[in-house]
């Protein structure tokens, strides 16, 4: 079933809780999701300084299970996942036959023959269909479990401390659970898949739980953390947080005309011969998605995401620019509704969380 503008919106199992909190909703990839509860800026600041609680139940969860699940995913995805150990996760891409990007994914290995693929809400069916097709010759099954899973993210430097104090939430292997690792927990009799991953640039956790337990888990975490500065946070804060962290968003930095070149630290995203870079500006006026990047009056690129960075206090943007102008330090301008404002090419991410431990 394809979700279109005419279809009724899909509802998160937490909608009633959001409504009670006075949230503003938006339609996002066919789902009615929270934009902000009070102020996106305040929610953003809470995640950087303390913690934020996000409802991400729109995200797609697709299980790949069977003796050949690893081999099937190796064949289906841009990077091999058969080498990752149980309890580990990997960020990767789903590409079309020409290397164009159909989605970016996090793949969690939850057992020798079990993987959980988390995809963007808007690409749910594209990803599930592609995995089914590509896994066709392998001994495994592909199950879209999105409707059976509520996804709640706790993000921010105080996440672990808050999590440890949630009454009735037992996570036996939380000690030593590193970033990009996952484990299982129990919240008042409900199994919870606990992953130390996120999309904010902060430490944090993502909880997958049955929809009927979502409200109790949300409320318990929120009540535990409120005294420490935990705030419920919506998609507005999520977008500025991920932008500061230099994380691409499908439909902006990623699409079927975009390719990844190279691997690991040297990988870069390329679109129409242009390379994805960070741009930093001055003052308060931000270039936004679709605005032209100029050099001596000539168009040399286009912004894919941009905002006044709440944490840094100056405008930041991601943009595809001509490869010759991608070097950090290069001076360019952005056409902000008829006014050319200076920007400088900078390394991504714009924001890196302070490391407490060496």
């Amino acid at each position: 079933m394809t979700q279109t503008a005419d279809s009724p919106p899909l509802h998160t199992p937490l909608e009633a809780v959001h409504t009670a909190l006075g949230v503003s909703f938006t339609d996002f990839a066919g789902w009615r999701m929270p934009v902000s509860y009070s102020s996106g800026l305040a929610e953003h600041a809470a995640v950087r300084a303390a913690a934020g609680l996000f409802d991400l139940s729109h995200m797609a969860e697709i299980a790949v299970i069977g003796p050949q699940a690893a081999a099937a995913l190796d064949a289906a995805l841009a990077d091999p996942v058969s080498g990752i150990a149980n309890g580990r996760a990997k960020y990767t891409l789903l590409e079309n036959g020409e290397g164009g990007i159909l989605d970016d994914l996090i793949v969690y290995r939850t057992g020798d023959d079990r993987f959980l693929v988390v995809a963007n809400a808007g690409n749910r069916h594209v990803v599930a269909d592609a995995l089914r097709t590509r896994a066709g010759g392998f001994d495994c099954v592909v199950e879209d479990e999105t409707d059976d899973i509520a996804l709640i993210a706790l993000q921010g430097p105080l996440s672990e401390e808050i999590l440890r104090n949630v009454e009735g939430f037992e996570i036996p292997e939380l000690d030593g659970l590193g970033y990009y690792r996952s484990t299982s927990g129990d919240f008042r009799g409900h199994g919870v898949f606990v992953a130390r991953t996120g999309y904010t640039g902060e430490d944090g956790f993502e909880f997958s739980v049955a929809p009927e337990a979502a409200e109790a888990l949300w409320t318990a975490v929120l009540e535990t953390g409120e005294g420490s500065g935990l705030k419920p946070a919506g998609l507005a804060a999520r977008d500025t947080l991920r932008l500061e962290a230099g994380m691409p968003l499908y439909g902006h930095e990623l699409d079927a005309t975009t390719h990844r070149e190279g691997t690991g630290r040297t990988a870069r995203l390329v679109r129409d011969g242009r390379v994805l870079v960070g741009l930093a500006g001055e003052g308060r006026r931000a270039g936004r998605a679709g605005y032209a990047v100029l050099r001596a009056g000539d168009a040399v690129g286009e912004i894919t995401s941009g905002a006044l960075s709440p944490t840094l206090g100056h405008p930041i943007a991601m943009a595809f620019v001509d490869a010759a102008l991608a070097e950090p330090g290069t001076a360019l301008t952005v056409d902000v509704r008829g006014t050319e404002l200076p920007v400088t090419v900078v390394d991504l991410p714009f924001y890196r969380r302070p490391k407490e431990h060496a």
Partner: protein, 118 residues
């Protein structure tokens, strides 16, 4: 002084031949956190229903329309310095004062409430 409204989600307070203009709470809520405000310079002349400034939030850009023909007497520097004051109290955060030559028909509070009712 009664407060009147425009379909562009601005409030207008008329005192003699001077109109004080701000954006409505409804507009401020729709915009979200305002981070940048660009207002016309005092002395500039403005034409009703044309764009004379920008109110930029974290997620979008709103335009400030002149509700009247006239000359800008004052722009509120306090709001330029603290754009968040629009979110804090849109009814108090006036943006510009304009000496107008003619006053178009504006909406009453009831008419504006009807316009924004969902």
């Amino acid at each position: 002084m009664t407060r009147q409204y425009t379909a562009d989600h601005e409030w207008v307070e008329v005192d003699g031949d001077i109109a004080t203009v701000g954006i409505t709470r409804y507009a401020a809520d729709k915009l979200g956190d305002v981070v940048y405000v660009d207002l016309p310079a005092p002395g500039s002349s403005v034409t009703a229903s044309t764009v004379v400034g920008e109110i930029e939030s974290t997620k979008s850009v709103g335009e400030l329309f002149a509700p009247v023909d006239g000359e800008v007497l004052e722009a509120n520097q306090a709001v330029v310095d603290d754009p968040g004051s629009i979110n804090a109290d849109a009814d108090a955060a006036w943006l510009i004062r304009v000496r107008f030559t003619s006053l178009p028909e504006l909406l009453t509070a009831e008419q504006y409430a009807e316009l924004t009712a969902e």
